[in-house]
Amino acid sequence: MAMRELVSGGAACATSGSSSSSNPLGSLANALLGSSSKTQERLREIPTSTAIPSDGSASVGTGEPLSGLPGSELDHPLQPNAQGSEFLRGFRSADQHGLADVWDEIQRPQVNFPPEHVLRQPDTNGPPQRVLSSFLHSFVNSSHGGIPFCPATLPVLGLSAGDKQCIRDRSSIMARHFFADKSEDFINAQVNALLSSLEIDNDIRAPGPAFKRYQELEKYWHETHGMRPGPNPADGWVAEFAQHPVGHGDPSTWVQSFEQEHGANGWASEFEHEHAQLASMDHIRGATMPHLAAMEQTRMLANTLAQNNDPKFQNSKFFQFVSKMSRGEITVEDNQIKPATLSAPGDWATEYQQQYSGGQTWADQFVHEELSKGPNGWVDEFASERGHVDDGWVNEFSKLHVNDWAEEFGRQVGEGTFGDSSADNWASAYDEYLNEQTALKQQSESSRGVYVFSDLNPYVGHPNPLKEGQELFRKGLLSEAVLALEAEVLKNPDNAEGWRLLGIAHAENDDDQQAIAAMMRAQEVDPTNLEVLLALGVSHTNELEQAAALKYLYSWLRHHPKYGTVVPPNQPDSLYYGDVATYFSDAARMSPDDADVHIVLGVLYNLSREYDKAIESFQTALKLKPRDYSLWNKLGATQANSVQSADAILAYQQALDLKPNYVRAWANMGISYANQGMYEESIRYYVRALAMNPKADNAWQYLRISLSCASRNDMLEACDSRNLDFLQKEFPL
């Protein structure tokens, strides 16, 4: 869509009230004014001049329009309706009362245009609207007269931040539109002048609407461009995404997110800002200006395009091209599209996006359907140059070694056919992500101590679920035991043993989150239970939560009947690892035959990553308790983490001999193989672990990684859909 169209409420939109995604402003304008031609007229109305005190502050403007590039998106999600209303209101008001105008002494009297309207003296006390409108008009005027428009001080117009933003944006576009024949310096000077007069600065945030009309427009806007009705999966993610803080309530795209990120990114915005500074200080370097102007233009375009929720839109190459242009990474020079020689900040990330945009199909469609016959050279050039443009960046990627995400994404997109289904693929990947997020959220809840009960528990109502749970546990049916134990604690929330066993079952099932949650409940009921404290220490160590782990291990010592004396009577505020280790060593010396002390010491050494000492401790403990499967696993894990993978596997095997359904040990086996690069083997072990506990999320993630490392992308889908049967058939042990 051409800028012209956007700006002038162009001809494409004939009926008022019609909504056309390609011409938002036009339709708005039409709705408001009933016809687009009127707006055109207004633009042509040229108020004559009346002098006003001028500040002569030569384009000192800190380059607002120019720094209003990627960074500005961060500041305010663009609301075109806001722009439209403000701008139109400005013009509307012009209708009501003739135009006071704002000139300064530099305004030359050789006004080439016929004074069509008699103007009053500038009424600086007048309603802000009037002053503003006249000011805006003079800006417009100056275009026609070829007269440089110089900044002037205006009374406080009470422009809201949103208004300012609109004015800024609109004026930059308008300037480019009007001054198309002028040099770029001129354009920017003009805009700067306008903005500095209006005291529009960079730091603008869009506020709530202050005007009724704005509200109406917003409503109208949302009606026409709001979430598309219907069960289109694209809606799901759009809606969800809209709720994401990044969006500020407006559905925002990943491009905007990216741009936003870059706005916040120190050096990126500095880069833009620097450019802006250069421009504003009248040290206009010829090279940069055209780029910046184009950037500004395309940024506006990109913004408006971004308002379109259609995922096709977002992902189209066209849109990305526009975004890219807006960031100055590519410029149109001599009818060629050239990547900017300056390393633009968003360079790599746009390419990154490009990689994922995949299908040219969308871009094709878009370009054909919606590309206006507008004269904008660069748009046409893009259509023709697209092939050329693609080569440079995309080829680089196709040569790359195939990667997890990139490939998957590209494949997903490539598999889609025209239009909808490709959007669907992307949307469904996103849905999947969202599901993942809710699952993760669940997990994170339990890590904060909130235990998550299973639904549909067949053991609820069982006469003695605890006993049942213990039986099942003994038999090694961990998941079943979990259910039974859940039934027990639902029945008797104060049953410490129930909670404890539940926690252990979860840990053995390779779910530390739930294990912690259950153990915390057990600790509430029975604060001095040593096994509980140890288990908590272990789980937290696994989760790399070192401070918490230390706390629990210390508590173990304190509450121990025998070693309680080793530690000082008052609990110190902050625990230092070194001190705790000393206490434990003391305790160990006290009774060298107590396996438990050695076990706890082993865990402690894991915390501090003194793996050799940890291994030693565990081995000592194992001499005393050779049939403790959990101990073998601890030994194995320590060895694995110190990259003695061969030994680790032996230890795990011992554990599994003692407890064949030890899910954790199976998963750990998989990890050891994977860490050694033996991905095919690791897959088998993961699958085995998952067969025993389909809820082991860690194992699913690891399986996925191993699958792609082993180049078994064909099975990725089975993995994502958690199709265990399929996986088991394919990867038996």
Binding site: Y352, Q355, Y433, E436, S608, K634, V643, I671, D697
Partner: protein
């Protein structure tokens, strides 16, 4: 690494340690051959960009060092929070989704960034 006197100890620290050792193994050496890039990871304890600890994962030499990269410019620099990095390394969070959400920031070469996948990192075994 023995005593953590600091009040804020990053979880990622453990992962980095593991990575360091991992790179001395055959599998780790294969990684340097396969990738051959230098990454810098800026990890913040809670909020992106605040109190960052930097690590250099040098997959050219096969080293992991704390601090920023001194011998030139890293091929790609990432910023995450502690938790997010752990998730990504474990495969729990998709890096591209993380990027889109703004949970991960990238600077530098895009192709280098794309090679930064969860499988680079060894997984911790659980006791």
């Amino acid at each position: 690494m023995a005593s953590d006197e600091k009040s804020v100890q990053l979880k990622s620290d453990a992962l980095m340690e593991q990575m360091k050792i991992h790179l001395t193994t055959d599998a780790g050496k294969a990684l340097t051959k396969k990738i051959g890039l230098v990454y810098q990871l800026n990890i913040a304890p809670k909020k992106l960009g605040f109190n960052e600890e930097s690590y250099v994962v040098d997959l050219k030499k096969g080293e992991v060092k704390k601090g920023t990269y001194e011998d030139g410019k890293p091929d790609a620099t990432f910023s995450f929070t502690d938790n997010d990095f752990i998730k990504i390394a474990a495969g729990k969070m998709n890096p591209q989704i993380a990027f889109m959400r703004g949970a991960m920031k990238i600077k530098g070469s895009i192709s280098a960034a794309q090679k930064f996948t969860p499988d680079i990192f060894p997984k911790p075994a659980k006791m």
